[in-house]
Symmetry: C2
Subunit: 410 residues, 2 copies
C-alpha cells in the first residue's frame, strides 16, 4: 500500500472532538452527556435566516461568485461600519466558514517554513491550518494566573526571526474568553508595525463582550491597515454553525489577489448559507440582546459555580462563551476521558475539552479544561454538580489533598 502523508500524521487530533467516541459509548449505555466541549450554541438561529431558507424561490441552486454574493458583502460592510470597522464590499471575501478564512489567509500569506506567533492557549485548529499551509506556529504562553492577559511584548520579540511573517490573535478569545485591552492592542500594533508583519485577527465573538470594556478590532489600529487580515464567521453570532459561512477581510490588494485564486479553485462558498447569513444581518435587535443577556447570566452562574468547587479555579472571561478552568487533577485529558468512560452521577456525565490541545507545546495546560457555556443555566447547574462529585472520586483527583490541607490550616 502506498504510504499516507506525513503532513496528515502531523495534523493534531481535535481536542474538541477526539473524545467523541467515548461520549458515543456513554450515550449507548444510556448515560446523558452534557456537551460543554464544543462551541455549538443551543440558542436559536434568527427566524429571519430560517425564513429566508424556507422561502427559497430558485429552480437551480447555482454556484455563487467565488468572492461571495455581492448584496451579502455590501450588507456585511454596513454591519462592520457599526463597529467602526471601515471596510467596503470589495475588501470582503465570503468563505466556507471561518475555518476556510484562516486556511486561505495562511495559504495566501505564508510559505512552508514561515512562522507566526500565537498567544496560547489558542483555538486548536490554528495549528491544524498552519500545518496545512506548511507554516510553523511559535507560541507565547498566556497564563491562567494572569487571567490569560497578553504576554509581555518581550516574549514576542524573543521569537521573531527572519522567518516570522505574522501574529495571530483571537479577540475576544477562544478558548480563554479574554478580551484584549486598548493598551494590549496598541502593543500588538507596534510589534506589527516595527517588524512589518501580518496581523491575522479572528474576531468572530465580537458581539459577546461582557464587561463594558471596548472591543478593539485589528482594523481600529492605525497605520497597519495593509497588514491586517480579519477573520469572521456567522456561526457563533447567529447560531449558524451548520451554514459554514465566514469571511476574510483585507485591504491589501496583493493578499486579496492571492486569496481569490484559492477561492476560484474551490469555485464558490455555499449558496443557501450565504442567503441565510445575509438575512441574519436583519435579525431583530431583541434577538441579539436576548442571546447576549443569556450568555451574561450563564457566564456569571458558571464562573461563580466553578470557583466554589474545592480546588477549581476559573478566571472571569470577558467575552466569547468559553472559559479555561484549572482543575485539581493529575491530568485533564485523563480526567475528561474518565468522566465519559467511568463516571456517572444519576446517569449523567460531562464532556469537556482538555486544554492541552489548545497549546502547541507539550506539557502545557495539563490541569486545565475548556468549558463552553452553550447550555442553559439549569443544565449548567447539573454540570457543576457532576464536576464537583466527580472530583471527589476521580482516582487522580487532588481534592482530598486540598481539603485536608485547608482543614489543617484552620
Amino acid at each position: 500500500m502506498p504510504t499516507v502523508s506525513d503532513r496528515g500524521k502531523l495534523m493534531p487530533d481535535s481536542p474538541i472532538r477526539k473524545l467523541g467516541p467515548l461520549a458515543d459509548k456513554a450515550k449507548e449505555k444510556g448515560i446523558k452527556v452534557y456537551h460543554l466541549n464544543i462551541g455549538q450554541p443551543d440558542l436559536p438561529t434568527p427566524p429571519e435566516a430560517l425564513n429566508a431558507i424556507k422561502n427559497i424561490d430558485r429552480m437551480i441552486l447555482e454556484y455563487t461568485p467565488s468572492e461571495g454574493i455581492r448584496s451579502f458583502r455590501e450588507k456585511l460592510a454596513k454591519y462592520y461600519h457599526k463597529f467602526k470597522i471601515d471596510v467596503d464590499a470589495d475588501d470582503i471575501i465570503i468563505t466556507t466558514g471561518g475555518s476556510e478564512a484562516v486556511t486561505f489567509s495562511f495559504m495566501s500569506c505564508l510559505d512552508p517554513g514561515d512562522e507566526i506567533i500565537v498567544p496560547e492557549p489558542a483555538y486548536a485548529n490554528y495549528e491544524a491550518f498552519a500545518i496545512v499551509a506548511g507554516a510553523i506556529i511559535k507560541p507565547v504562553t498566556s497564563k491562567i494566573e494572569e487571567g490569560f492577559a497578553l504576554p509581555p511584548v518581550e516574549e514576542f520579540e524573543k521569537l521573531i526571526t527572519p522567518k516570522t511573517k505574522g501574529i495571530m490573535i483571537c479577540n475576544p478569545n477562544n478558548p480563554t474568553g479574554y478580551l484584549y485591552t486598548r493598551e494590549e492592542m496598541d502593543k500588538i500594533r507596534n510589534l506589527i508595525k516595527k517588524y512589518d508583519l501580518y496581523l491575522f485577527s479572528d474576531e468572530v465573538y465580537r458581539e459577546f463582550c461582557y464587561t463594558g470594556a471596548p472591543y478593539i478590532s485589528a482594523f481600529h489600529l492605525e497605520g497597519i491597515e495593509q497588514n491586517v487580515v480579519l477573520i469572521d464567521s456567522v456561526s457563533k453570532r447567529y447560531s449558524e454553525c451548520g451554514l459554514r459561512i465566514g469571511a476574510l477581510i483585507t485591504k491589501n490588494k496583493e493578499v486579496k489577489r492571492n486569496v481569490m485564486k484559492f477561492c476560484q479553485a474551490r469555485l464558490s462558498a455555499p449558496l443557501i448559507g450565504q442567503i441565510a447569513a445575509e438575512a441574519s444581518l436583519d435579525a431583530n435587535p431583541d434577538y441579539m440582546l436576548n442571546n447576549y443577556n443569556e450568555y451574561v447570566n450563564r457566564r456569571k452562574f458558571l464562573i461563580d459555580g466553578l470557583n466554589r468547587i474545592d480546588g477549581v479555579y476559573s478566571p472571569i472571561p470577558m467575552g466569547a462563551f468559553y472559559t479555561v478552568a484549572r482543575l485539581p487533577v493529575d491530568n485533564a485529558d485523563k480526567f475528561c476521558s474518565w468522566l465519559l468512560s467511568d463516571f456517572e452521577l444519576e446517569n449523567q456525565t460531562l464532556f469537556m475539552a482538555p486544554a492541552s490541545g489548545f497549546y502547541t507545546e507539550p506539557g502545557k495546560g495539563l490541569d486545565e479544561v475548556r468549558i463552553a457555556y452553550v447550555l442553559k443555566k439549569e443544565d449548567l447547574a447539573v454540570c457543576l454538580k457532576i464536576l464537583e462529585e466527580a472530583l471527589k472520586v476521580y482516582p487522580g483527583s487532588k481534592v482530598r489533598q486540598i481539603v485536608a490541607n485547608n482543614e489543617s490550616v484552620r
Copy 2:
C-alpha cells in the same frame, strides 16, 4: 508591507473564471453573453431537494458530524451499489464539494514534492489543489486527433520516479468528455498495482455516459481497492453546484484517518446542503432520464454544428457535458478574450474557456477551447452562429486561409 506567499503566486488563474471581468464589461455594454465557459447546468435542481430545503424544521442550524450526516452516507452507499461500487457508509466522507474531496485526498496522501501523473487536458483545479498540497503534477498528454484517449502506458512509465505517489483521472472526463474503456481502465489498474500508487478517480459525471459503453469505476478494478480514492459530488448530477456537497470514498483506513483530521479541522460540511443532497437521492427516475436525454440531444446538436464550421474540429465526447474543440485561430486565449471585448453578433457573444488552462505544460492546447453544453438547443444554435461569424472576422483567424486552400483543391 509583508510579502505574500509564493504558493499563492504559483496558483493558476482559473481558465474558466479568469475572463469573467471581460464578460461583465460586455454585459455592461448591453451585450448578451452566452456562457459556455462554466459547468453550471441550466437544468433544474430536483424538486425533492428544493422541498427538503423549504421544509427545514430546525430551530438551530448546527454543525454536522465532521464525516457527514450518517443517514446521508448510508443512502449514498446504496446509490453506489446501483453502480456496483461496493462501499458502505463508513467508507464515505462528506466534503464541501468535490473540490474539498480532491484537496483532502492530496493533503492526506501526498507530501510536498510528491508527484502524481495526470492525463491532460485535465480539470484545471487539480493543478491548483496540487499546489495547495505542495505536490507536483506530471502530465501525460492525450491528443485531440486520438479523441483524447488514454495515452500509451509507456508515457506514464517514463514519468514514474521514486517521488511518484499516484495517478489522477477524471472519468467521464472534464474537459474532454472522454470515457475510459475497460481496456484502458485495466491498463491504469496494472500501473497502480505494479508501482503501488494511489488512484485518485474523479467520477462526478458517471450519470452522463452517452454511447452505451460501460462506465468503469476505479472501484471496479480488482486488487487495488486499498489504493483507490474516489471523488464525487452532487453538483453536476442534480444541478446543485451551489450546495457545495461532495464525497471522498476510500476503503483505506489509514487514508481515512488522515482525511478525518482535515475534516475535523474544518469542523463540518454544510448542513442544509447535506439535507438537500440526501433528498436528491430520492429524485424521480424521470428527472434523471429527462436531464440525460436533454444532454444527449444537445451533445449531438453541438458536436454536429461545430464540425460543420470551416476549420473547427471536435471529437465526439462520450460522457460529461463538455467538449474540447480545435478552432482555426492563432491563439484561443486571445480569441476568447476578443469575443468578449471586441465582437458581437446582433448584440450577442460567447464566453468559452480557453483550453490552455487545462494543460500544465505551457504551449499546449493553444488552438483549443472547452465548451460546456449547459444551454438549451436554441441557445446552442445561436452560439454556433456566433462562433461561425466570429471566425470569419477575427484578426487571428485561419478560416480564410482554410477556405482558400479548400477552394484551390477543388
